[in-house]
């Protein structure tokens, strides 16, 4: 499943905000971290703000903060705001037996992807991030541990 850039930016931003919901994070900080244009990101954040997932705080020290429910908001809730998650309309080739067979296999893949995206909340994603960080920190710590004499 390939996500469009706006969708990916929305997920990156929401996960950054949800990781520290008390903090107001400037859009520029997210743009710099993910190496994207602030202008492009602003459009994504405006949509997230419009649907009530984040709140924009103006002025010095302003930025955005997460105001959704990280235990309930799923990846699919976010993805469906930015792209069409319905099955792609069939075309003429799907009227053929080969086309129908191919469409049926592709729809299996879509169904599995949707089930995954619908069952993973932002909180679960943050735990996955934590586990991955812990996993990558452990070998590094092992490496830097001085050898015993």
């Amino acid at each position: 499943m390939k996500l469009q850039q706006n969708t990916r930016l929305a997920l990156f931003s929401l996960l950054e905000f949800a990781a520290d919901p008390q903090r107001q994070i400037p859009a520029a900080e997210i743009a710099q971290k993910y190496d994207v244009s602030s202008h492009h990101l602003a459009k994504v954040l405006a949509e997230l703000s419009r649907v009530g997932m984040v709140q924009s705080v103006r002025g010095v020290g302003g930025g955005y903060r997460f105001i959704g429910n990280a235990r309930r908001l799923t990846l699919m809730d976010v993805i469906s705001r930015f792209e069409d998650v319905l099955p792609v309309e069939g075309n003429h080739s799907e009227a053929t037996p080969v086309g129908q067979a191919l469409a049926s296999v592709l729809s299996e893949i879509d169904a599995i992807a949707k089930a995954s995206m619908s069952s993973i909340t932002l909180e679960t994603m943050l735990r996955i991030v934590e586990r991955q960080q812990a996993g990558s920190a452990a070998p590094a710590a092992k490496k830097s541990k001085p050898a015993k004499n």
Partner: protein, 178 residues
């Protein structure tokens, strides 16, 4: 929460639809000290009632059979645990260690987990899962699996929140011609 689908050729039971998730508010029941323990025969009525609440079907014979196979066979790696609050049964989990099925190393399988709708959001399912995983670990296995319908997003979300990821196995099925 609801039953997951039991692995193995003998288990063709489909995952039952689950009751809608309660809203993200404080649980209806006041928070009470949770306890996880092995099921006792006197717990069966509460378990049957809980299952009927979710599935709409009373299946006493089925549960009596499960009790005989799981509660009385812990030595064989079968586990049937209940969660209690104020000495009242509010949830259960059933699972077992299976060896070398599907070409896999021995691993624990969770095939049923349920919590009374009015006792959810108290952490009972988490403690039930931890309880059975602890018993699986004692049995020497280092992997736990489950299987459920992909439209069952509530329980999928629960298992995901506990750290479960998509396994390297793909379930397959086909209709048998008469």
């Amino acid at each position: 929460m609801s039953k997951t689908t039991q692995p193995g050729a003998a288990s063709k039971r489909r995952t039952k639809a689950i009751a809608p998730a309660p809203p993200a508010v404080a649980p209806a029941r006041a928070r009470a000290a949770l306890s996880i323990r092995a099921v006792r025969h006197e717990d069966l009525d509460a378990v049957i009632e809980m299952d009927a609440m979710v599935t709409g079907i009373h299946k006493r014979d089925y549960w009596n059979s499960l009790y005989r196979r799981y509660a009385e066979a812990v030595a064989t790696g079968h586990h049937f645990l209940v969660a209690t609050a104020d000495d009242e049964v509010i949830g259960f989990v059933i699972g077992e260690v299976r060896d070398w099925e599907f070409g896999s190393q021995p691993c624990g399988w969770v095939f049923a987990i349920d919590v009374r709708p009015d006792a959810r959001l108290m952490g009972a399912a988490t403690q039930l899962l931890q309880g059975i995983c602890q018993r699986f670990r004692r049995a020497g296995v280092s992997k736990v699996r489950t299987l459920l319908a992909r439209e069952n997003t509530l329980i999928l979300s629960f298992f995901r929140s506990q750290g479960m990821m998509i396994s390297p196995f793909i379930p397959l099925e086909m209709d048998l011609e008469p």
